[in-house]
């Protein structure tokens, strides 16, 4: 059952990046779009994520629940020492979710729409940045349970080059995913051209931010290279991710964009697989060299019951979710009322 629980944890984080991350990315794209194209981005975004953002968002909650039920020491440590970035993440999630809902459900469309949009955009930029910071800090080895002062315990646990670079990389991946998904959601050739253009830029930016991530890892002595090349699975996965990256280049150049989201999802999955396999079974690396791993269990019975709950839950959730995505494949002109 431990395997089931770990697989669900892994899949939940991945799905949150692939689905929830793309939602954030749509907000980032809205910011980066020139004023003339902003409305198109907004309308496509709303159509694409309107019915499903609340469901996408649930993957984060599932992740949190798996952590505190199955791996409580990881949950308690992370939420103690990364309190500040978590706090900002939460404010971002609140601002973004409410702004999106207010924007589409406010009965009267007036100047307030601009306010909602600004809040939505700002929160879409900030939230994935801090999500990345949290992910980076967990593995960067700067969480110091022995620290006695506020700064070392609660500030420098995350305010480092590697976590910051992970934040930037996460933002880029989110925007990149969103622009790729929106190519498929476009109704007209003109819209499609716009998002292909965005994707080309995003594709370069992702690479640059990835290189920055490596530089930051070197600066902070984070063994990122060892994780992605230390074992066979990680190595194969990272090679597959590179192939995916190149394949997307060709698809963009040849305008073969009808199934471009498949290599995109593949590439992100492989990147995630490579790093997580390199780390496995460790999750949190502390400053004193101690690691909190997935083998430090809460208790056999808790894991077994959690595994069953997840399996039964998955049986109910996945079919409904696929049907929801199938019904609202984004090519409809539906709005809420």
């Amino acid at each position: 059952m431990l395997t089931v629980v770990i697989l669900f944890l892994w899949a939940s984080i991945l799905l949150y990046i692939l689905l929830g991350g793309a939602d954030f990315g749509a907000g980032i794209l809205e910011l980066l779009s020139p004023p003339g194209e902003r409305t198109i981005t907004r309308q496509l975004t709303f159509r694409a994520i309107g019915p499903i953002w609340e469901a996408n968002h649930m993957w984060l909650v599932i992740t949190v629940v798996i952590l505190f039920v199955g791996f409580p020491s990881i949950y308690a440590t992370v939420s103690t020492y990364l309190h500040i970035p978590l706090l900002i993440l939460l404010l971002g999630i609140v601002a973004r979710g409410t702004a999106l809902s207010f924007r589409s459900n406010d009965a009267i469309k007036d100047d307030l729409q601009r306010v909602y949009s600004r809040v939505f955009i700002a929160a879409s930029v900030i939230t994935p940045f801090f999500l990345g910071i949290i992910a980076g800090s967990i593995v960067a080895g700067n969480i110091d349970p022995a620290a006695n002062d506020f700064r070392n315990a609660y500030l420098y646990s995350w305010l480092r080059w590697f976590p910051l670079a992970t934040g930037l990389f996460t933002q880029c991946i989110c925007a990149w995913l969103a622009s790729i998904y929106l190519i498929g959601r476009s109704d007209t050739e003109e819209d499609k051209r716009i998002f292909i253009h965005h994707t080309v830029i995003a594709h370069i930016v992702v690479l640059v931010s990835g290189i920055l991530l490596f530089l930051a890892a070197t600066a902070d002595n984070v063994p990122l290279r060892a994780w992605i090349s230390g074992n066979v699975v990680s190595l194969l996965a990272i090679l597959a991710a590179v192939l995916g990256y190149i394949l997307i280049w060709f698809m963009l150049l040849l305008r073969l964009t009808s199934i471009i989201n498949i290599p995109a999802v593949f590439m992100v999955t492989m990147l995630f697989l490579s790093v997580t396999c390199g780390l496995f079974p460790n999750v949190v690396l502390l400053k004193n060299g101690v690691t909190l791993s997935l083998t430090a269990l809460a208790g056999r019975q808790s894991i077994t019951d959690l595994g069953w709950a997840l399996l039964i839950g998955g049986l109910l959730i996945f079919p409904a979710l696929f049907y929801l995505i199938y019904i609202f494949d984004g090519r409809t002109k539906e709005t809420s009322l």
């Binding site: 019915p51 499903i52 609340e54 469901a55 649930m58 984060l60 909650v61 599932i62 949190v64 629940v65 798996i66 505190f68 039920v69 199955g70 409580p72 020491s73 949950y75 308690a76 992370v78 939420s79 103690t80 309190h83 978590l86 706090l87 939460l90 999630i93 609140v94 979710g97 409410t98 999106l100 809902s101 207010f102 589409s104 459900n105 406010d106 009965a107 009267i108 506020f150 315990a153 609660y154 809460a298 208790g299 019975q301 808790s302 019951d305 959690l306 709950a309 997840l310 839950g313 109910l316 959730i317 409904a320 979710l321 929801l324 019904i327 609202f328 409809t332 539906e334 809420s336 009322l337």
Partner: protein, 434 residues
């Protein structure tokens, strides 16, 4: 303000905020389903307008409830890491099952909100019903976790360690049933009276008559039935508390001295120094009677509970009195209204009765908040009754008072925005109907 008090205040604020939105998210789908049912049966356009108007409101409340619920799942660890490190694996069942239930609720809401023209009419209606059913299920599941904090079970506590964890037994803790029952009914009472009150107000202002009259009736009948049932569940809960949490019962009844023929107090201001209650109406023996069915039964008082294990009598007593007073008032109003509806009395639509409903608009939610203050403050100083103190669970991070201020501001802004959107929504109904 010290960090413990700040952490408790922030948690109380977050829960107090979230509970309003979760009640609405649980109950409103049923109202929409009733309205849509009448639309499908009668093809009366007003019911369709009503279902759509309500669903727009629900989307706003649901989103706010979803994000404030996410905040809570993180805050549990950010404010109470030591509690979660030990309790997480034990009370994992309710949370993981709740995750599933809420997930289904969110998916069904996507179908309902965006599927008006894409789904078959009765399938669409069904998705709305699924939103409500799974909303109630997820609420009931979460209450198991709180029930467990009040009545911990499913583990052995040996030398300060939690051993032999049995999550299913923890899920089925004895506190679950009374709490789940009381709170689920309360959600229907609170939401129903809030909705009925708003529509009664608009009726009194002469807004589109049929629209608001129908909305009012759906909400008032459901709320009325729930409010009449609630005292039974309340009585059950109180007897359960008396048996299992004597400190909480003694504090909420401001019962300082153990003894037979314990009086029931109506109102009153507890005087902790002199251990007496001023200005209360005392009904001798009634407390004994209510709890044990015998006026001469002995009820344990605060004198038999160590001082360091006692909750605040003032907070517990006031919140209890407020909850009971509001609940009684709503039950009385419900009895009058339902009598009028069943007996087809003409005064059931009178301005005076509508006026009473307008006054009652916030009462259900105030009672819910008071009830939660009682449940949580009445359990103090414990976070897990008899096992772990709240002071042992709090985060070591200093400066929680600043995050408390921050959260207060955020929730104030959100409250203002939701009220503004509600107001604009109501204005929009008028435009639509004209």
């Amino acid at each position: 303000m010290n960090d413990l008090l700040a952490a408790r205040s922030q948690m109380a604020l977050s829960l107090g905020f979230h509970i309003i939105f979760s009640c609405i998210g649980m109950v409103m789908p049923f109202f929409m389903a009733v309205a849509e049912y009448f639309w499908l049966k009668t093809h009366d356009k007003i019911y369709l307008q009503l279902a759509k108007a309500w669903s727009r409101g629900v989307a706003i409340f649901f989103a706010t409830g979803a994000v404030s619920g996410t905040v809570l799942s993180f805050e549990l660890g950010m404010l109470w890491p030591n509690f979660m490190a030990h309790a997480g694996p034990i009370i994992g069942m309710p949370f993981s099952l709740e995750g599933t239930a809420f997930f289904i609720e969110a998916i069904a809401l996507g179908f309902f909100m965006f599927g008006w023209n894409r789904l078959k009419p009765w399938f669409h209606w069904l998705t709305g019903l699924v939103v409500g059913i799974f909303g109630v299920i997820s609420g009931i599941l979460v209450l198991s976790a709180n029930g467990w904090m009040n009545h911990p079970s499913g583990f052995d506590y040996i030398n300060g360690e939690f051993r032999n964890i049995r999550p299913v037994q923890a899920l089925l803790n004895p506190g679950w049933f009374p709490e789940a029952m009381h709170m689920t009914i309360a959600a229907f009472v609170a939401t129903g009276f809030a909705v009925a009150g708003i529509h009664a107000f608009l009726l009194l202002k002469g807004r589109p008559f049929l629209f608001h009259a129908r909305a009012f009736k759906i909400a008032a009948v459901i709320a009325g039935v729930a409010a009449l049932v609630q005292p039974i569940s309340g009585d059950h809960s109180a007897r359960f508390v008396a048996k299992n949490q004597p400190a909480k019962l003694a504090a909420m009844e401001a019962h300082y001295y153990t003894g037979p023929r314990a009086p029931l107090l109506l109102g009153g201001i507890p005087d902790n120094k002199n251990k007496k209650v001023d200005y209360a109406i005392q009904l001798p023996g009634v407390l004994s009677l209510l709890i044990y069915g015998d006026v001469n039964a002995t009820v344990k008082g605060l004198d038999q509970i160590p001082v360091e294990d006692q909750p605040s009598v003032t907070i517990a007593h006031f919140s209890f009195q407020i909850m009971v007073a509001l609940g009684t008032a709503l039950a009385a109003l419900s009895a009058i209204y339902l009598f009028g509806v069943i007996g087809r009395r003409r005064w059931r639509d009178s301005r005076r009765l509508l006026g009473l409903f307008v006054v009652a608009t916030p009462m259900g939610f105030l009672a819910v908040e008071a009830g939660w203050v009682l449940t949580e403050a009445g359990r103090q100083p414990w976070i897990i009754q008899g096992v772990m103190r709240t002071s042992e669970a709090v985060t070591p991070m200093p400066g929680i008072q600043y995050t408390f201020i921050l959260f207060t501001l955020v929730y104030l802004v959100l409250t203002f925005m939701v009220l503004l959107l509600l107001y604009r929504q109501i204005r929009f109904i008028n435009v639509l109907s004209n």
